[in-house]
């Protein structure tokens, strides 16, 4: 467990003297920086190029999503959650819809559940592709970005055909789905899977055994399983540290328990392991999608939901495994049409706390690699 005193703030006004009277350097990385993945500001305290400590300053993208939630009806708030982790909008929507469904004590019909799983896993692929492209770009490999965007496009096309939007999809409704799948949905998803499988190999060919990639990622940003748990880090980062924990298996939601897949884990908890874990996760997602498409049942797509959603008084916490980690919704209902309180537990926000622990004693270039490997989305960190 990280030493709590090490979490104290950096004293930024008085740079210390280090070896031979050299000044410590205090540098702002961000908010306008090409590699902070948005408007994240990291204040680095450097000795030469070595990081002595860092502090994150966030909130540049704060929009008060939770406050908005208190002033919108349950259905009206649904599109807002897409804007948090905007590269995994479908996952956000799934978490929110399921939380409200839980509060209403209803369950989406099987067909809707299947379609939800397909779209959510496709969304996990897009999220991981975006991560891979930008992460590689941060480390200096510019080509994978274009490859992943080329393939991500195919998924976005499916989203667009299904719900008319590509990024902030608003794909699900409370109680199920608004839209039936378009004709040829299954065929297109299957075609995509056939197209995508060799592409994962292609990404791996570019990077997995690349000497420079290995040197830049092995042993970088190490974090142990204990530290991960203490810091609340979830998702691929936790799994790369060797903890076999995935909410899809640990506390299955939607109908994930019907699908056969594995939880890839790493050993060292370094940047390379996180890379390997995410690559393996992509393959597992492909497996899940394939099973879901093959077993897509017929039937209604919407549960019996009252026109005006008025959940009984009470509160519920529901969390799902978003591409970045545990995404939780804590909703308090006062029996009215608007939630009394919506709390979002964003994975990126909590994961970002680990940045300091992961970067101390490493070089400036590694900070970039670690920010990339944490896979944060500032829309979700700041909400």
């Amino acid at each position: 467990m990280p030493d709590p005193t090490s979490l104290s703030p950096l004293d930024l006004d008085t740079p210390d003297k280090t070896f031979l009277d050299a000044n410590e350097l205090i540098i702002n990385m961000g908010p306008q920086h090409p590699a902070t993945h948005g408007v994240l500001r990291v204040i680095l305290r450097l000795d030469g190029e070595k990081v002595l400590g860092l502090e994150c300053v966030i909130g540049y993208l704060h929009r008060g999503v939770e406050k908005i939630g208190e002033n919108r009806t349950y259905a009206m708030f649904n599109p807002y959650v897409d804007r948090m982790d905007y590269v995994a909008a479908v996952s956000n929507g799934l978490g929110y819809c399921e939380a409200v469904e839980k509060l209403l004590a209803i369950e989406a019909p099987p067909r809707a559940q299947h379609v939800r799983v397909i779209l959510t896993e496709l969304n996990r692929l897009t999220s991981h592709q975006l991560w891979l492209g930008t992460h590689a770009l941060d480390i200096g490999a510019i080509t994978p970005l274009f490859y992943t965007f080329r393939d991500r496009e195919e998924i976005l096309k499916i989203f667009e055909k299904y719900c008319g939007a590509r990024l902030t999809t608003h794909a699900f409704r409370i109680g199920g789905l608004q839209y039936e799948t378009y004709s040829g949905f299954e065929r297109e998803v299957k075609n995509f899977l056939a197209f995508f499988r060799p592409k994962i190999d292609e990404y791996e060919e570019l990077l997995t055994t690349n000497r420079i990639w290995l040197e830049r990622t092995r042993g970088i940003g190490k974090i142990s399983a204990e530290d991960c748990i203490a810091l609340g880090v979830t998702g691929p980062v936790l799994r790369a540290s060797g903890v076999k924990w995935d909410l899809r298996k640990a506390q299955p939601y939607a109908n994930y328990k019907n699908f056969d897949f594995e939880i890839p884990i790493g050993e060292n908890g370094d940047t390379y392991d996180r890379y390997i874990v995410r690559m393996a996760e992509m393959r597992q997602s492909v497996r899940i999608i394939e099973q879901a498409v093959d077993a897509l049942p017929e039937g209604p797509i919407m549960a019996k939901v009252p026109k005006v959603i008025k959940p009984p008084v009470g509160e519920v916490y529901h969390s799902i495994e978003a591409p970045k980690g545990e995404l939780g919704y804590f909703i308090v209902s006062d029996g009215s049409t608007q939630p009394y309180r919506v709390r979002v537990r964003p994975p990126s926000f909590v994961n970002l706390q680990a940045l300091d622990t992961m970067c101390r004693g490493q070089l400036v270039a590694d900070v970039i690699a670690v920010i990339g490997t944490l896979d944060i989305v500032l829309g979700e960190v700041d909400r």
Binding site: L25, L137, A141, E215, R216, V364, A365
Partner: protein, 424 residues
Amino acid sequence: MHDLIQYVQSYLDPNVKVTPGAAGNMFWAFVYIMLVFLGLSVAVIAMNWLERKILAHMQVRLGPMRVGPHGLLQPIADALKLLLKEDLIPAGADSFVFWFAPFIVVLAAFCVFVVVPFGPQHAITDMNIGILFMLGVSSLSVLGVVMAGWASNSHYPLIGALRSSAQMVSYEIAMGLAVISAILMTSLNATGTGTLSMIGIVEAQKAQGEWFIFKFFPLGLIAFFIFAVAMVAETNRAPFDLAEAESELTAGFHTEYSGFRWSLFFLGEYTAMIAVSSIAVTLWLGGWLRPFPNLLNSPTWDTLFSYVPGATFLFLAAICFYNVARMPKHPYFRIQTMGLGAFGAALALIGLILFIPVVSVRVQDIFWFTAKVAGFQYLYIWYRGTFPRYRFDQLMHLGWKVLLPLGLGVLILTAGVGLLQIKS
């Protein structure tokens, strides 16, 4: 005046070998200086376009397509944009140093070409310390980089400048050791003395009948490899582009530069790439010599090889015409199609001119030299499309702990093998 005419005449006569830069040959020096300026400008513009196009095609995209046919005029549009852009000197900057730094970078990169031999008679000048001059001048550019970073009075440029100074300086040594083993090879000829003159080095390869990259296989190859790695590091290009690593230092040492002053750094970088490639070509790849100088040295082969330059240009022209045929037949594309056609026609004309024997005898040396340098430029682009970026300590590790011992070892082994050859 009479002398001048005589020099021109003597130069045009293929049987008279006038060493360029010899006393009184200032006229030709001047002509070549102008030609080098022109050639480099064209080369940098072409590099700019080619880098974008080649990288784009490696990355499954098209690259510039709008300005001119296939974006051919894009570099010119960019140059104009940079010329018309506001040029700021930050408030805290040391304005003279800030102003002067890009000049040093450009000067250092250009000056290398004073001694580059494009052919036995195509050079601005030939100095007896040519290679030393080249190494010295090309490493001057680090001064400009440090000055730029320091003068900006900003954190990122400062780190970029310090990084690049340490980096360029570290690879200088490995580079020097590799060069020494090539120099050592030049001394293994009949006269018994080596040379530092660039023309002399190529002549030595011609005399010994093999390019130095193949000499004492694999020693020459390893020396060349060391040089090839060091030269990428020297020019701050991927995967060693730490000085301007855009994901870490935003733009490194030239973060604070804008407008035309920034474009001077750009010019310097591309010129330096061509410059160090020229050194590599001269030292190991036989400079202006055509391929297989020893194996296929019958007059028939000579004639055949003299057709290659013209054929290459005709081939390029054919590609242009093929693309003209593929252009959409829509009035919107008419100007583009015509432009591409004109470009192809120009290339074809050059190709046809190159088939005239008098011209081809004169020019094929330049062609071979340029072709080899162009190969290196392609490698540079390829590296950029393929490799992630090294981290600073790994870069230092590679330079000091891998390339330096390797260079020393190769040098000693080359000397040993050379000694055995002398004895036998």
